[in-house]
Amino acid sequence: MIDLIEVFDRAETGPLTSETDYYMKRYVPKLAELIARYKIKWDKETIINSDDDLTDRVFQAAVDLLAEAGAYCPETNRVMEFTRDEILTACSECPTKARFGEGRERKSMKGRRPDTTDDRPWVHVGGGIYTTDEQIFVDTVEKMASFSIVDSVSVPSILHLRGKDARVRSPQEVLVACQTVRLAREGIRRSGRAGLPIINGISAASQPASMFAASYPDFGLRPSDGFLIDFLSEMVVGYEALQKVAFYNSISANIGSTSTPLFGGYAGGAEGVAVTATCYMIMGNLIMRGTYHYNAPLHSKLHLSSTKPLIWAIAMSNAAIGRNMGYPMVNLPYLGGGSGTKQYHYEMACYMLAVVTSGGNIFSGHPAMAVQADSLVPDDHKFHAEMGLAAGKLTRAEAEPLAQKLFPLFGDKLKDPDKGLTFQQVYDPRTKRIVNTEYQKNMDEVRDELAGMGLEVPVT
């Protein structure tokens, strides 16, 4: 694989072009050409593709997209170009497992192939949803970490300092990022699993300075946790991302390359999102030197990821990488339904069936499009991880009819999703036990409905 300094140099030496010309003369026409060249077509019905030839064509298109369109660095206005050989070499040398955690909790997240039914996928729960209160933050993290099936957690964000908003890039943001990490580690320690990894480092940090500050070992994060570095707009690799790549590679930390291709944006529809999402994972390994990937395609208008074409595209990108690279990946579901609602559970079940059978690991989802404060309710995430474990025993072909049964239960609600509950509305503040009977009833009924459809989701 070409070395990291050479990668950085490509942002300094590639062809000069404006951002508009990059999109309109390179990325957009090349993507359309590749979709036609490789005959990539979504049939508007399938949720979980099991055509391996189509899957491999998506991967080839993704390789060609990077080779022929390149990535764009806005600070230098240059296209970062890579040859096909450089890309394929990087793919062949891609890490196929990421080592996370310490002590008893030290384990490997593996890259999975589609239709693998005899392994146990990595179980990651949580989300970067913001909390309004530090006590709820610690309780939320402790509760998630205490579930024995959990291998890693994403922790919420604190956005306030002494009751005031912490503005992006402000000194308060640095303090909030440090505090987020400190409290998260404290919550994990309280669960009795101090070595459990946090792999969404650091959701409260928007700028490199905040991320680097909160990475100071005294605050509790370690290289064996995971640090997210994201692409901005489609195919954009900015200096801030490359600064993070430079730093986290210098401390040998796990990097989670992160991408959010937009359905309806420059990537277009299902086919374009599938190819672009796959391309991001190739770039995540080559450019960001990730050890795992956060795959988070999103609908540009609805701000969620559970529409039929999006689930198809997300599952497709998992299968394309699973079959051709083995890069460990989780998928970040943004769901319409609020916490504790049946809609949220149906969306999650459909999503899990698609991504886990296609080669993804398990990651519970963000409810309510991640905009409702305090909406991270740990028992939802346990239930959804259990769904993922159940899905892991199926092939894509077995999962498809179940996904088709589930989709009508929530598809029409995506434009006006059901509102959900908050942590405070579900738990007793002292014992942290569920006291909201409606919440428990919803979950039990959905579990029964899933069993009735043929998806047994055992309580762990």
């Binding site: 999109y23 309109m24 957009v28 359309a32 913001y130 964000s157 956005l159 908003d165 912490a166 503005r167 992006v168 890039r169 943001e173 409260a204 928007s206 901005l232 707009s233 489609e234 900015g238 937009l262 359905f263 309806g264 944006g265 420059y266 990537a267 277009g268 529809g269 374009g272 540009s300 208008k301 701000h303 499009m369 905009v371």
Partner: protein
């Protein structure tokens, strides 16, 4: 060719998102003596309305929207001088100052909105991303804008929207401009809290809302 056929050809050329076809249709219409403003109002804008509807219903996506907008802009380069020559009135629906707040580097949603504004007949000043709050205020005053449209994707950048409204109030200019907010992290409640004139869940809604606000 009857005027109806000419306008239909202009409309279809925009729907086809083909710049050469649009310019040829405009050239032919001018050659046939059709008024430049009528070319826009009865030919190109109806085509753009169809494009907007196709975008909203997900029959087309951002790249096609951009192609149509670029074709429209190429036609306007030809048509605007002719409107001015004939002393015609400004064909624009209203003036919009648009940008993503300070600290937020996300551009796609804002870019979609810019295109939809332009293809709906608004005049747009796109300040880009990571925009200083006084840039919004100063540009709005400079161009005598009707609306300031402010985007924020991140929860941590939302307060940048509030700051623009506060700055307008401090300067005594709050009533002079309508302010609308949108973006992934925003909600109707947030818009109400900061005293915005409106909130839109999508770019298409923002254009509809803006049309109401300037009417």
């Amino acid at each position: 060719m009857a005027d109806g056929d000419i306008f239909e050809q202009l409309k279809q050329s925009i729907i086809d998102q083909d710049e050469d076809e649009v310019l040829a249709a405009v050239d032919k219409a001018l050659g046939d003596g059709v008024d430049a403003k009528a070319i826009i109002d009865k030919g190109l804008l109806p085509g753009l309305n169809v494009i907007g509807e196709q975008f909203e219903s997900e029959d087309i996506f951002l790249p096609e929207l951009m192609q149509a907008a670029l074709a429209f802009q190429a036609a306007m380069v030809v048509l605007e001088p002719k409107i001015k020559e004939s002393g015609g009135a400004d064909a624009k629906k209203g003036k919009i100052v648009l940008g993503t707040v300070k600290g937020d580097l996300h551009s796609i949603g804002k870019n979609i909105l810019k295109l939809l504004y332009e293809t709906s007949g608004f005049e747009v000043w796109d300040l880009g991303i990571d925009v200083d709050l006084f840039q919004f205020v100063d540009k709005a005053k400079e161009v005598d804008a009707d609306i300031i449209a402010i985007s924020a994707l991140l929860t941590t950048t939302l307060i940048g929207q509030r700051d623009v409204i506060e700055a307008l109030k401090d300067q005594g200019n709050r009533e002079r401009f309508k302010v609308i907010v949108g973006g992934g992290a925003t909600t109707k409640e947030w818009a109400d809290t900061i005293g915005a004139d409106g909130w839109a869940a999508s770019a298409y809604e923002a254009v509809t809302l803006s049309a109401k606000l300037v009417s």
